[in-house]
Homo-oligomer: 213 residues x 2
Amino acid sequence: MRIAILGTGDVAQQLGTKLAAIGHQVQLGSRSHDHPSALAWAAKTGGDTSTFELVATWGEVVFNCTSGQHSLKALRLAGHAALDGKILIDVSNPLDFSNGFPPTLSIANTDSLGEQIQHSFPEAKVVKALNTVANHLMVDPGQVDGPASLPICGDDAEAKAKVSAWMTEWFGWEDVIDLGPIESARATEAWLLMWTRLYGALGTGNFHMAIVR
Amino acid sequence: MRIAILGTGDVAQQLGTKLAAIGHQVQLGSRSHDHPSALAWAAKTGGDTSTFELVATWGEVVFNCTSGQHSLKALRLAGHAALDGKILIDVSNPLDFSNGFPPTLSIANTDSLGEQIQHSFPEAKVVKALNTVANHLMVDPGQVDGPASLPICGDDAEAKAKVSAWMTEWFGWEDVIDLGPIESARATEAWLLMWTRLYGALGTGNFHMAIVR
C-alpha cells in the first residue's frame, strides 16, 4: 500500500520504518521537499520524502504524525483534494508545553484536535489511533509483556474497521477498542494528561494502558 | 479506625459497607442527620449516620464521596475544624451531565476538583484515590481477573503512603501508583472522559485500567 506520513519526527520515522519494513511504500511529508532528517530516513529505509501536498496526493492512506500545534496547518498544506475520500489516521496530540512538563492540552474536555481535523477536512475519514502510547510501542506493543489496549475513534465505521484490522496486522495490536465517534478523541487526547504523569512517576514511557475486563 | 464518609450514594454505601465489614467504625454524612438511605444503610451494616459536620469531626479519616458538583459545599458544611490535620480521601469527580452522556468535566486540564479541595481546605491532607473505577471494584478489584492499577495523588507524602497501604490492606489493590502532587488529579479526573466512553463502548463498568510495564 502507498502510505503517506505527514511529519518527520520520531513518531513519523518510527511508523515509516516499520511500515517500509513490512513491505509498504512509504513517504514522509514536510513543509519542504528536502527536509534533512526525512532525507536521511529515506536513504536508510528505501522510503521517500516530499512536501505535505505531494505525499498526501500520492498516498492511499495518510498518517498525521505532525505535532499537535502544527497539525491543522500541515493538513491545509496537504490540501483538501489530496485527502479526499482517504482514511486519515490521526496520531497527533494537542500538547502545550509552554508551562513546562507535564504539559496541559491546548484543546480539551469539550473539543479535541481529532474533531477539529475532521470538521476542517470533512472529505477525509479521520480515525484517531496510536496517540495513547510511546512511539516505540506503537509499532510493536509486544515490547512490553502483558495486555495492551488501543482505543480508536472516528465517525466512519468502515474506516475504523479497516484501521482496526491494520493495527493488528501491521503492528500486532490484539485489543483495539472502538470508543465511538471522533468526539471520543476528547478521551484519548486527555489520556496524555495521565500518560505524561505516569512517564514522570515511573521514569519511563515503556508502559501500556490495558483495559482489563 | 473511625472512618467518616461524606455522601450517602452508591459510592459512599459501597465503601461504608466494605469498611464496616472488615471491622472499622463507619459513619455516613449528609446535609441532615436523618437521611433516609443513610439510615437504611446504617440499620443494615451496624454503621451510623449524621451530618457532614458531626461525622467529619468524629472520624479519624474522611472520605469525600459526594458528587463532584456538591463536594466543596459539603466540605464547607463539614468545616475546617473537623478536617484539621486529617487525611481526606477524595473519591469525587467533577462530572457535568448537563448535556447528557458521556459527560464533560466542570473542571479540567489546567485545574481539578482535587486541587480546589486541597486549596480550599489547606488544613486537610487530601489524597485523590479510587475515583478511576466503578464503585463495586473500588472495594474488591479482584472481581475482574487480571492486572489493575490505582493511581493516587496528593501533596503529603506520608498521607499518600498511608492511603496506599490502606488501599492494599482494606480493598486488595496490588498496584497503587503515586502519580505525584494533587495537581495530578487533572489526570485521574480526566480519566473519566475515557471511563465513561469505555462504559458506553463496552456496555459495562466492569473493567480496570491497568498500567502494564
